[in-house]
């Protein structure tokens, strides 16, 4: 039986810990053994840190992977950024002998070693490929019947999505939402960026981008936007605060899953005007 560890990443573990808690609860209900490991660092972030030093980016990612290897755990990610970094670093270092030698020389300074013995997957790919839609459907206790859900994928999901789905017309995530009893809404910009990368340069412009996506969701008559990345989540939360006329609920996929599985109070119990919803655990 494969063992897993959940790599929540620094944004989820500090800013959106309810997503981590919900994910652990739902995985336990699926009888998936998830170990908690110590000593993580940031994955590291896939664009800005890599821009400064690709070597440091690979080395820090290799260190995180080596921690999972010591416990013989495959890595499940909850964040598109962590996914891109750990997936790409894992594959590149496995395949490139020189890079692996260089990384292990650096890791030797902290008495660690990259062996290339574990795999990295997003939670979504794991649910789709390893758990399967049939078993997931059996776990749904409270179908999300009143929900018409638009999916926002996030740019950094593409690195993995191309490995198991058609990135021009993705099906897997739609299936994962449908089995929860929700309807999936098509809208034209689901694969476009939320605008987050522009935020260091022009915050208002970046939020306008997110608001554009939300308008597309609203016009498609969706009442919920499902996201899979903490940066997208925070970006859309801010855009919803600035555009309160857009009555769209924002939900990280584990919230939808947890709600349908009965791990959470049903989303239907929350007010439609509760946008963006806040809970005690989300006061950051």
């Amino acid at each position: 039986m494969k063992r897993y560890t959940l790599f929540s990443g620094c944004m989820i573990s500090t800013k959106l810990p309810f997503v981590e808690a919900l994910t652990l609860s739902t995985l336990r209900k699926m009888d998936v053994g998830v170990m908690t490991l110590k000593d993580w660092s940031c994955c590291p972030e896939p664009t800005m840190i890599r821009m400064l030093s690709e070597k440091a980016w690979y080395a820090l990612a290799a260190r995180n992977i080596s921690i999972a290897e010591e416990s013989k755990c495959n890595i499940l990610t909850l964040c598109n950024g962590c996914l891109t970094t750990l997936l790409k670093a894992n594959e590149d270092i496995k395949e490139n002998t020189n890079l692996r030698r260089e990384m292990n020389a650096i890791l030797g300074r902290v008495e660690r070693d990259f062996k290339g013995s574990v795999e990295v997957k997003s939670l979504w790919r794991f649910l789709y490929e390893d758990i399967g839609t049939k078993k997931l459907r059996e776990l749904v206790k409270k179908p999300l019947v009143d929900f018409r859900v638009a999916i926002h994928y996030g740019c950094h999901m593409m690195e993995e999505l191309k490995l198991y789905d058609n990135i021009q017309d993705p099906k897997a995530l739609r299936a994962l939402v449908r089995i929860l009893g929700a309807d999936v809404a098509d809208y034209p910009d689901g694969l476009k960026c939320c605008g987050y990368p522009l935020s260091p340069i022009n915050r208002d412009l970046s939020i306008d981008e997110a608001a554009d996506r939300l308008r597309g969701v609203y016009e498609a008559q969706a009442n919920c936007l499902c996201v899979l990345c903490p940066a997208c989540y925070l970006q859309f939360r801010l855009a919803l605060r600035r555009n309160r006329q857009l009555k769209v609920k924002l939900a990280y996929y584990p919230e939808l899953l947890g709600s349908a599985m009965g791990v959470l109070p049903t989303l239907q119990q929350r007010s439609r005007e509760d946008v963006p919803h806040r809970r005690p655990s989300d006061a950051c």
Partner: protein, 122 residues
């Protein structure tokens, strides 16, 4: 597009080391943005296309922002500070305490060119 990128090497040979490093980083970010933009082609990631067309001053902002993030990473082991509020929330949710290992992060980054690029090398 930033015109300095297309200048022949001889014309930039007298610029300072930090400036040369900055230009090298800019080339790298262009590579990263192009990779990301091309991944989702032909459904274009408009933002990354926009980033590819940024002005020099915007790149400087991005570069400074990335240095800030790297500084946080080296100081905390993460890009987010673990506040008392974070600790309280995690405890309420029954989640384990966060222990980012900044000690090992510092040792590893010291073995790379990161400190030099950030202008922190002694």
């Amino acid at each position: 597009m930033w015109s300095a990128l297309s200048k022949p090497a001889s014309s930039i040979s007298r610029v300072s080391l930090p400036e040369l490093l900055r230009r090298r980083r800019t080339k790298l970010i262009l590579k990263i943005f192009r990779e990301t933009a091309e991944l989702s082609f032909p459904t274009p990631v408009e933002i990354y296309r926009r980033l590819l067309a940024l002005q020099e001053s915007d790149y400087v902002k991005l570069f400074e922002h990335s240095k800030t993030l790297a500084g946080m990473l080296m100081k905390n082991g993460s890009l987010a500070v673990v506040t008392n509020s974070t600790k309280r929330m995690r405890k309420e949710l029954g989640l384990p305490s966060l222990m980012f290992n900044q000690h090992e992060v510092k040792k590893i980054t010291a073995a790379t060119e990161l400190l030099k690029i950030m202008g922190r090398e002694k």
